[in-house]
């Protein structure tokens, strides 16, 4: 009984929970910033920069607007972090199996990843500042744009694998690696949708720095902002882990530490692709994003589901 609780606490707080996720999140933020800088002929930050930023923000004063709802304002960053930490428990990190897995945890993970977006919206809305209000409206509008393609496109491999659990999907692809190229369209669509979820250029409309200052985060400062930014970093790791488990076969059947190394490698490759996307393009407007997502991404994800159905029927 005690060892069960200890094991649960360990996996929730240390690995692959809070401590691992936050340090891997900071590491991936460093990789992203360093690659982004090197693509622009700059030097980029040293390896401890995200950690230094976190420590600096923790030491700053927290200023809460007078008209804002104080309790809601303060608790939202913790909600975002908690949702992301819970979702990593269902994705295989150490070897081919995750800490908890059950049928339908694919939908649970995508749902849990929506919670941070809703907390951004509530955080901006409760700030009662005009910039934050516009930013939070944009967060929600953007959610309606990318969420549907993201959800539909992860259904494709699930149909092919015949199971609703992430561990099951990656195990299926580990044993049938020849079926991986079937989901190429899905991989591309999911990477673009992930860029939208993480609110990075070209989809960083909710945080459009030159337009609405800070978007939903305008009034956040100090340790609340530190936790919100940490939650965004952790979301990047979880998103990369989800894509590598569903589309790239996860740990490919390798046990223990080797599987973990493969997971790290795949996550870094996905972050490299995301950084390149960030460096390549300009920010588009919100209505252009909605039309892009509904006119191009959603039909492509439907096409992917169709292809998976056909391939499932033939094998």
């Amino acid at each position: 009984m005690v060892s069960e609780t200890l094991r649960a606490a360990f996996s929730l707080l240390v690995f692959p929970g809070l401590l691992f996720l936050s340090s891997f999140g900071m590491f991936s933020e460093w990789v992203d910033r360093k690659l982004y800088a090197r693509m622009q002929y700059r030097i980029g930050p040293p390896w401890f920069q995200p950690f230094a930023d976190f420590v600096k923000l923790m030491g700053k004063e927290v200023i809460i607007p007078e008209a804002a709802d104080e309790a809601l304002f303060k608790i939202l960053p913790s909600f975002a972090g908690a949702a992301v930490c819970t979702s990593i428990l269902m994705i295989p990190v150490w070897g081919p199996s995750s800490v908890y897995s059950f049928q339908g945890d694919l939908i649970a993970v995508v749902y849990l990843l929506t919670i941070p977006t809703v907390t951004f919206f509530l955080g901006g809305w409760s700030s009662t500042s005009p910039y934050a209000a516009i930013g939070s409206l944009r967060v929600l509008t953007q959610l309606f744009a990318y969420e549907v393609p993201l959800l539909m496109v992860v259904l494709g491999p699930a149909i092919l694998a015949g199971t609703w659990s992430i561990t099951g999907i990656s195990a299926f692809f580990a044993s049938h690696p020849a079926l991986l190229p079937v989901n190429l369209i899905g991989l591309a669509v999911s990477l673009v949708a992930l860029q939208g979820k993480l609110e990075r250029v070209p989809f960083d409309i909710p945080h459009g720095e030159t337009e609405i200052v800070g978007g939903a985060f305008t009034e956040y400062s100090g340790r609340l902002l530190a936790f919100f930014l940490l939650a965004t970093d952790m979301e990047m790791v979880v998103g990369a882990a989800l894509i590598s488990a569903v589309f790239l076969g996860g740990a490919m059947g390798l046990p223990g530490f080797l599987g973990f190394l493969l997971f790290v490698l795949k996550a870094v490759v996905i972050i490299f692709i995301l950084s390149a996307m960030r460096a390549l393009m300009a920010r588009i407007r919100i209505e252009q994003m909605i039309s892009f997502c509904w006119k191009i991404l959603a039909p492509l994800s439907l096409l992917q589901v169709l292809i998976d159905l056909i391939v499932k029927g033939t094998i």
């Binding site: 030159t210 393009m281 300009a282 920010r283 407007r285």
Partner: protein
């Protein structure tokens, strides 16, 4: 949907200098915009009256950081016009050379700033990396990267040596290749096209009515360029085209500026290869004879006008500066209305605002004694007479 008023206030990441735009928003659309200036007024015109002409050169230079050479040259031209001083040819050629290098500098800087405003930070970094080439040229010629301080009343202060000429020509070749790359990037990258096409529409009639100048007007198909219409220094001997575009939007302004870069490279090569011999300045007395003079110059942002009145002492009596951004400013309110909030930064950045140049004081006198007012007809006749005495006939231009 209810309307909220957002202040794109004096402090905002989109603005490089303080200016206030009160936007009335309905959702994401702008239904009303009020523009206000005045945050950068430093009293330069009054300060000029207290300093000698030599000291004023450096004060006028600091009206703006990027178009500093334009302001000094315009001031020198106005003073030389007032005191009837003839500037040697070599000095005029060197002024043109530095003026065109400054235009290259300013347009590359604008390209980076426009990229940053639409969220394209990579274009920002790349354009500013290439700007280093032209800054190195200017540092070599004049001793500083901005505020070149090359002009003096009656000529220039430093000469161009043969090594400097070779170095500049080499760098112009590098820059020309990069500019061709930017032309391709601007016309082929879909996100840039999505943000720039159809944004900030300013039709030709509105541009003429609101007095737009510079690339803003040329992008709305108003072919107005001081270098061709009222040639100064040695521009009447140089061969270049006036670039216009008829798309009347931000994309047109981007295209006009990038093609103007190519024309500037052509001009720089022409000047360097045909630099006239001679002295670089004439000796000018400290006390200038009384008179008034107007200097007219095509700054990177548009038409720059300086007026100087001398009264026989070594300090000017009155200096008036009309910077190009003031002429473009009333077009902003027109372009913002009906657009989206997301377009506000790029629309403002597309006229290349320099609010530091723009802030001047206007004194409104309530007494009507001792003054006189000119009707439009009289003003037009006065302008025609002024230019007729200089050999140009504008009487056939339609009202």
């Amino acid at each position: 949907m209810s309307k909220i008023t957002i202040p794109l206030g004096p402090q905002h990441p989109a603005l490089k200098e303080p200016g206030n735009f009160m936007l009335v928003l309905e959702g994401e659309q702008i239904v009303g915009a009020t523009v206000r200036l005045g945050y950068n007024h430093r009293g330069i015109e009054k300060a000029c009256e207290d300093r000698s002409f030599i000291q004023n050169l450096y004060l006028i230079e600091r009206v703006c950081g990027i178009c500093s050479h334009s302001h000094t040259t315009c001031f020198c031209m106005a003073t030389e016009d007032a005191a009837k001083i003839e500037v040697p040819k070599r000095a005029q050629a060197i002024r043109v050379l530095v003026g065109e290098l400054e235009r290259v500098h300013s347009h590359l800087l604008w390209l980076g700033v426009a990229g940053h405003e639409i969220g394209f930070d990579t274009l920002f970094m790349y354009a500013w990396k290439d700007r280093e080439q032209v800054l190195d040229c200017l540092e070599m010629i004049s001793g500083n990267r901005v505020h070149y301080a090359l002009n003096t009343i009656g000529g220039v202060r430093r000469d161009i040596t043969l090594e400097q000429k070779a170095e500049i020509l080499k760098r112009m070749d590098i820059l020309e290749e990069r500019t061709q790359y930017y032309i391709q990037l601007a016309t082929q990258e879909p996100t840039v096209l999505a943000r720039a096409r159809g944004v900030g529409h300013l039709p030709t009639e509105e541009a003429k009515k609101r007095g737009a100048v510079g690339p803003t007007a040329r992008a709305s198909n108003v072919p107005f360029d001081v270098r061709k219409d009222d040639p100064y220094l040695i521009y009447n001997e140089l061969d270049f085209k006036v670039i216009t575009s008829d798309s009347c939007d931000v994309f047109g302004r981007l295209v006009v500026r990038v093609f103007e870069l190519l024309e500037s490279f052509k001009l720089i090569r022409q000047v360097l290869n045909n630099l006239p011999e001679g002295p670089i300045s004439v000796k000018v007395p400290r006390k200038l004879p009384a008179g008034e003079g107007v200097g007219h110059y095509e700054a990177p942002r548009g038409e720059d006008i300086h007026y100087v009145r001398t009264n026989g002492t070594e300090k000017p009596e009155r200096v008036k500066v009309r910077a190009p951004t003031l002429a473009n400013f009333s077009s902003i309110a027109y372009m913002l209305e009906g657009g989206y909030l997301a377009d506000v930064p790029i629309v403002i950045a597309a006229i290349d605002p320099c609010f530091s140049c723009t802030d001047r004081a206007l004194s409104i006198s309530t007494s009507t004694e001792g003054g006189y007012s000119l009707s439009w007809e009289d003003l037009r006749k006065m302008g025609i007479e002024f230019y007729r005495s200089r050999g140009l006939d504008f009487s056939r231009i339609a009202k």
